[in-house]
């Protein structure tokens, strides 16, 4: 017997600890303070970067030691560390138990509709008003009903000795708003846990024209099979006029299963950009970056127009084409992904991505040099050469698209949690539980009306309503 009692005590004690607001404060503070450290120490970065940062605070000689200490406690990847997870778990447990602890009392209020009260209780209400009305109780009653309706309340009438008591209330369930909000936080945390255990977060760099059936985990670098092939048909960056500010970058992706193309929304090729990803079989592909990695197989795509004849040509570096209708040859002799002119008029390459791609073409006729030109993709005025118009359309197979790949079966729980939170916050902050009691008693020459009311929030607005109600009774 005594054992059981002791067990109970221990459970009670633990329960008390977890239901205390003191624990909530301690957890809030711990999460905040460690998070601050986490925003200063760069997460998952090269050790040198953080040592450099630390040496500003602790000096060159101490920085490596401090770094080692922080690293061993997991501060360099702290949001995934076991102790940070523990903090979040204790936070969740605290929230659940706090809510459970206080819920029964509130539930009782929420379950019970407003009912007639004794004169003593009515007298203890925060808002009171007494008015003397002419006429009979019946008239006063219908006036009260109408007045209550006028301020948005439905009257509930109870007969009493010598008169009636009318009760009305609104927003009873809004008292649950706080608990709905708490519950939504738990939902979001559950969603996050589901995502961590049953999903993955990976990345993939895919060169134009290539495909892949695996992606690489962002943290561990481990290979994750997709179960299908993803191919990048094309990648393209566009810029705002005459600037290097990218306007958009987009990839054209195709999915193959067992070698056969799969249609998504009726299309075999889906174009994605930064804010519109591709989803297939629970896996989402986000456009996140791009890069430049040319090879000897990359294809220069040009469109040559001479008179009425137009020809689209693809060729490799060093190869030649013929201007249609002539025997003039053009040879791809040089290339720059981002060409610019310096002050002395010399050409140079200013970036390692295709910001301003240009191709240098040498034109010959019968083996003899005629002329040569730089042709810039973004500047049509450079496309005209004496014998034709040569549009440089693309260097294909030289850019890769940087994709973020994610599978997160928990995201719907998170979204649901967000929705529930919006509802909970609305109820908690913008709705209130208001109750009104009106007792009508026959007195000589008329009716004595006593209004008592209470509200749990937004008192000033409610007082105005009660004024209106009193006015309605009189009129």
């Amino acid at each position: 017997m005594s054992d059981k009692k002791e067990n109970r005590n221990v459970v009670d004690k633990i329960w008390n600890v977890f239901s205390s607001i003191t624990l909530a404060v301690v957890i809030f503070s711990l999460i905040s303070i460690t998070s601050i450290v986490g925003t200063i120490i760069e997460q998952q970065a090269e050790p040198e970067r953080n040592i450099k940062l630390l040496s500003k605070f602790f000096g060159e000689s101490f920085a490596p030691t401090v770094f080692k200490m922080l690293d061993s406690f997991g501060f360099t990847n702290m949001y995934g560390s076991w102790w940070f997870m523990t903090l979040l778990f204790v936070f969740a447990a605290n929230l659940v138990i706090c809510s459970l602890d206080r819920l029964p009392k509130i539930w009782k209020v929420v379950k019970e509709p407003v009912k007639p009260l004794s004169p003593e209780l009515l007298n203890s209400m925060p808002l009171k008003k007494e008015i003397f009305l002419k006429g009979r109780v019946d008239n006063a009653r219908s006036a009260a009903e109408a007045a209550l309706k006028g301020i948005g309340f439905k009257a509930d009438i109870h007969a009493e000795a010598g008169g009636v008591q009318i009760c009305a209330e609104k927003g009873r369930y809004s008292r649950l708003g706080v608990y709905v909000t708490h519950f939504s936080i738990i939902l979001i945390l559950i969603g996050a846990v589901v995502g961590i255990f049953f999903g993955f977060n990976a990345s993939l760099n895919l060169l134009e024209g290539t495909s892949s059936a695996i992606v690489y985990d962002r943290r561990t670098g481990k290979e994750i099979p997709l179960g299908f092939d993803l191919k990048c048909n094309d990648f393209e960056v566009s810029f705002y006029d005459n600037s290097d500010t990218p306007k958009s970058f987009r990839s054209r992706l195709a999915i193959f299963e067992n070698g056969k193309p799969v249609k998504i929304n009726g299309k075999e090729v889906t174009e994605i950009d930064v804010n519109s990803p591709l989803k297939y079989k629970g896996i989402t592909f986000y456009q996140s970056s791009y890069g430049f990695s040319p090879s000897k197989d990359s294809l220069f795509k040009v469109s040559v127009t001479s008179g009425a004849k137009k020809e689209d040509i693809s060729l490799r570096f060093g190869e030649s084409f013929t201007i249609p209708g002539t025997n003039i040859n053009g040879k791809i002799a040089d290339f720059s992904p981002a060409i610019a002119v310096d002050e002395s008029g010399k050409l140079f390459t200013y970036a390692e991505t295709m910001n301003n791609p240009a191709v240098f073409i040498e034109f010959t006729e019968g083996g003899k040099q005629k002329y040569s030109r730089w042709i810039l993709k973004r500047y049509p005025q450079t496309w005209t050469v004496p014998d034709a118009t040569v549009e440089f359309k693309d260097l294909w197979g030289a850019q890769y698209t940087g994709l973020q790949v994610r599978r997160d079966p928990g995201v719907w729980i998170v979204y649901l949690g967000c929705l529930v939170m919006a509802v909970g916050l609305y109820a908690a902050f913008f709705m209130s539980h208001a109750r009104i009691w009106i007792t009508l008693k026959e007195e000589k020459g008329g009716v004595k009306a006593f209004i008592a009311a209470s509200v749990n929030k937004n008192k000033i607005a409610f007082e105005q309503k009660i004024e209106k109600l009193a006015g309605g009774l009189n009129g």
Partner: protein, 361 residues
Amino acid sequence: MDSSQFFGISGIAYILAMVAYIAYLAFRNSTVGVIATTITAVGFVSQTIAFVMRGIEFYDLGQMGVMRAIPLTNLYESLVFFVWCLILGYLVIEWKYKNRSFGAFITPIAGMALAFIDISGMDKNIHPLIPALQSNWLLAHVTMSFIAYAAFAISFATGIMYLAVTTENKKSGAYIFWTVTLGIFAAVLIAMGIDFMAFKVAARSPEAFIQSYLFKATFRNASGIIALLSYFGAAGLVFLTWRYGHALKKLIESFSISQEILDDLTYKNIAIGFPIFTLGGLIFGAIWADQAWGKYWSWDPKETWSLITWFVYAFYLHARFLRGWRGNKIAIVAVVGFVCTIFTYLGVNLLLSGLHSYGGG
């Protein structure tokens, strides 16, 4: 006239309004009060016009539809919008409470924010949207965040006023807290003003300003003596605020602003700001991040600091309702909350790096 001229008019109007409101506090002349309100209203209308015009300029440049033509894409625009929300909130309070005295406390915040824009020499040009910002969530996320920030700013002002009214004893913790906070605020702003005058900087971005100029004329001066003097100066300012802080109490009291009104305003602004911040700042931000980056929460500095701010205000509400905290204790929490808000908004952009760094342009 283009938007920048209207912004200029509103900036001058708010600074004049600040002077007028302070004069109103000092002379208690109702004509001065009416003038102060008029100037503020003129500034507000002018800023509204400027905001719409900048939106149209932006629309023409971006050609991406109305939803993406909201000029809230960089630090400059967001600060200007913050000031707009703040003045709107103030005008509503003045009208509802029929009391002009708050103006002297709110318009300085607006004036300081606009001064900060000039001092930091931040880039005011319209820039087209980079791909990550081309989302319809931009509108909801950013506007709601700033409405919440503005509500928090008002709660900060009323919180400081509350502490000023209720504390008398110079040795009490609450008195020291509010005077030191106010003193540091003033010292930092003055130091930035000195930077501006010393360097006449027109650095392209606030990052460049922070790295190369911030506090270089004072605390971070190459000459150790000047740096030391700056620290003494700042300490002196904090000391003066502490020494003469009680003057503020007399001033506020002479305008019959009661403790209750101040406490109520602090609470109301947090009660409005908190749900809007949760929904617009945290939830919409998470949804947008999920769509753009494939991660609804990545613990980047901006997100982490938002969460810390959220914790502080959540604590304010719980302490008030569950523990029945009132008075100085709760006012201090409100002030701390706004300090965190400022850090979330400015400190992270200026001092910490992360995914949000495009917000600094």
